[in-house]
Assembly symmetry: C2
Homo-oligomer: 500 residues x 2
């Protein structure tokens, strides 16, 4: 049992609680997430004063969250507030009332908010250079990342709600209104001379509004994964969504799949902002991040000196293995055998891309499904890999790893290809089969899970492949089992398999 | 970390290893299963002598299994042998060679074999009265169970392989051959006068051959579950399968979906035996058991004085919660609230069957999916309930529990009904919706997971339902959350929901 921590984030729109458990080796397990639509920022635009009613509701919510944290015996509660409290002239009253129930609220500056956005992204999406943008209710952060480092950031005091109120764009966007908001946004963005350095970088979008852009696109293409994090859209997708929502009134927008009813009125401004930034920086790709400042605070809590995690895929895999109490000796051994096979048989695999992410994920997690039950565990591994929120992989790499893992006991493609056409090409299916049988072979060569076969070499001949196993004892069961792969091997590579 | 145990079973056809971990409260987790087709019984019919070649292969296999057990640091290895060794005149030689590698083989008598079949079944299928039948390669056990007690048993020295060899029925079964085998089986079965007591009891079938009967039927109806244990067939299904295989030759049989190639030659005799027993005892239902003597030995190991598990569903649920390290305080609380709601709103549910199995499973395991990841955990709960090998439920109850659990955060039917038509009726869908919203309400009433709402009462009026919560403090978040269920509640029950 690790330490538990509660992270509370007081935004203009909602107050949220993230409860997480931090185990050995900094493993993270999310226990609970709560969200109350307090709308603390309502009416703030008029006089910069938090209303008594909203303060009462926020304190009531905080008090409940505090009780929850206490009952989960958390070792620490981190409470932060953003734009609404930052801007309010009566924030001291609010902070004192929170203090009275035992909560020290840290009011983040715009720069700090941008930093935690950066830190949550860099630890959960594989990216070297990027522009990040977090559109909140009343503020927007934009961050320039180069070589995984935060180079510049800004926090603008406008967001999805304030843009909507200011430009009165909760209904159909006529030409006049469109011109005025787009010009306003261009003007603001043009004040950032450092944006020029980001030309062609991918945009990583944070916050509910941008997530909604992703959700709409996912629905439109019938996307098979229950996963928004690291979902990729092209500029033309974003443009299409913007063009479609701007001509609709609020009621019509509510009917768009992926756009939740309580966001329909404030969505157009946010969409305009994403589109404008992408055009300004010639950005071709938008990636969605599910994580934001809460996760940034969490990573900051576990990373010494705020040094980002070095290899987020490895960290993620270790995290999953640890949380499921899985012995990783066998998994690591399979990874080594699989790597040896894939190097030795490179000419047969006949693919130039770097496959290590896929090979590592499939090998390290091939048995993870036995956590559900031993029976059919290869199928459960597929499900768990697809659904375990693994960081550091593209969605294509994720699906391929999951299929290859499932192939460790079954030669058939374990998914319905028609469903996954938005992610996998026909060539990917061939690659899955090839790597699938090599994983099955690796698994056969450690059938007894006792690492009898230390390593291997392969000789590729015209009509055959000979695998020479290197072991201290005769790996009786292993070789018997490996030979059971020969029919499928022959099918795929058109060569007879010998194992000695 | 619990104790590990290895159970090795030396049959006529295969030698198998079951590796299990036994945790606190006798929880069981299967770690690994291995099977080698040693075919120790080959040629035994001629002279009752195990061949040197087969003994060598069996000892090699046992030696590997021993190494595996050692490397898993098991605290005990149980090794049993059945008919092939029982019958062999040179069994002492074999036993001595096994002893030399450190394995004490216990040669089970037919009565003991029948007993472990009984004990594996009684602890994994909810049944009061039944006939059990285990068709092995060279023997068949038949057991009469009344009030969960073993009343009578017999072990016949014929099985799927020996029947095939004796009647030479590996090809199309002509009328003459059919008459001779059916008459032979009737004659044998008629020696059991106690079979009369079993008239109309369900038959529970054990062993690979009977499992194959189930697999063929599952394929034929496109069954949606990856689950053979407790799968039910009607007599007419069994008859249909028998009639279909008897007119086919071996090559044609190999093409039947569900019938594996290495069983096609020995399947007809086993099918004839099942059919004949069902007819003799007017049995309408065959249930398939996935478990056999290995699992019987495992249960015997954990059950004090061989007293069967009292409530196998509760045991199974506790087992899953324990293996996933899930805090069950919240689950138990949800179960109590859900039970209260279902009792108070019985008239609205409008269903006479005993729903406790479903309510208990859905409530106790509604959060189990968060073991995969917190995000979309209601969907993962569906997957895990369907795939966790829960004992004590019919397949219909299992699917209903899984759907209701998924409804704790989402009102939609989480499965494709077309796929599940073999299991659920249209009425079941209505029942799922009703119980689903009541589980969601229960979950809302413990939103903070701190048991604020102790209990509740309901008043049903013409146009409304009033839920009165009983709590020590004002359950602020809970009541807010419960009221979010009112639209769906109104949709389903056509009554306005009040929560106070």
């Amino acid at each position: 049992m690790g330490n538990k921590i509660g992270i509370i984030d007081i935004g203009s729109n909602s107050v949220r609680l993230l409860l997480a458990e931090i185990g050995e080796k900094k493993s993270i397990r999310i226990i609970n997430e709560l969200k109350e639509y307090v709308r603390l920022g309502d009416g703030l635009d008029k006089d910069n004063i938090l209303s008594e009613e909203k303060i009462d509701l926020a304190i009531k919510t905080l008090s409940t969250y505090k009780n929850i944290c206490d009952s989960f015996k958390v070792s620490e509660i981190i409470v932060v507030a953003t734009e609404a409290v930052r801007r309010a002239t009566n924030r001291t009253e609010f902070l004192i009332r929170a203090k009275a129930i035992g909560l020290d609220i840290r009011v983040l500056t715009g720069t700090q908010e941008a930093y935690y956005d950066y830190f949550s992204t860099i630890n959960s999406i594989n990216v070297t250079n990027a522009i990040l943008m977090d559109i909140g209710g009343a503020s927007t952060e934009i961050i320039l990342v180069k070589n995984r480092k935060l180079i510049k950031s800004i926090s603008f005091p406008f967001g999805a709600i304030t843009l909507t109120e200011h430009f009165q764009i909760n209904d159909v966007l006529d030409e006049e209104k469109e011109n005025s908001i787009i010009n306003y946004l261009k003007e603001k963005l043009n004040t950032l001379d450092w944006l020029k350095q980001a030309t062609g970088f991918p945009l990583i979008g944070i916050g509910g509004s941008i997530r909604t852009v992703g959700k709409i696109q996912k629905k439109a293409v019938n996307y098979p994964l229950n996963l928004i994090h690291n979902y990729e859209l092209k500029y033309t997708d974003v443009l299409g969504i913007y063009e479609s929502v701007k001509t609709k009134n609020n009621a019509q927008r509510k009917k768009i799949k992926g756009l939740s009813g309580d966001r329909a009125d404030i969505f157009v401004g946010a969409a305009a902002l994403v589109k404008t930034l992408m055009e300004l920086c010639s950005i071709k790709t938008l990636k969605i991040s599910r994580n934001g400042i809460r996760e940034g605070l969490l990573y900051s809590h576990i990373c010494e000196n705020d040094t980002p995690i070095d290899n987020i895929l490895s960290f993620s895999i270790d995290n999953i293995l640890f949380n499921h109490n899985m012995d990783s000796v066998h998994s690591k051994h399979i990874y080594n055998l699989f790597k040896s096979l894939s190097i030795e048989l490179k000419d047969l695999i006949d693919n130039d891309e770097d496959l290590d992410n896929i090979i590592k994920t499939a090998a390290m997690l091939h048995d993870i499904g036995s956590n559900i039950t031993y029976y059919f565990h290869h199928k459960h591994s597929l499900y768990m890999i697809l659904n375990s929120q693994i960081y550091g992989l593209s969605h294509r790499e994720l699906v391929m790893s999951a299929c290859i893992a499932a192939n460790h006991r079954d030669d058939n493609l374990p998914i319905d290809y028609q469903e996954y056409r938005a992610i996998l090409s026909k060539e990917d299916l061939i690659l899955i089969r090839k790597l699938g049988i090599l994983l099955k072979l690796s698994e056969s060569l450690d059938k007894s899970m006792t690492c009898q076969v230390k390593d291997l070499t392969c000789a590729i001949h015209k009509d055959s492949v000979i695998i020479k196993t290197i072991s201290t004892t005769t790996a009786f069961i292993e070789i018997r089992e490996a030979l059971n792969c020969s029919d499928t091997f022959k099918d795929i590579f058109n060569k007879k398999l010998y194992v000695v």
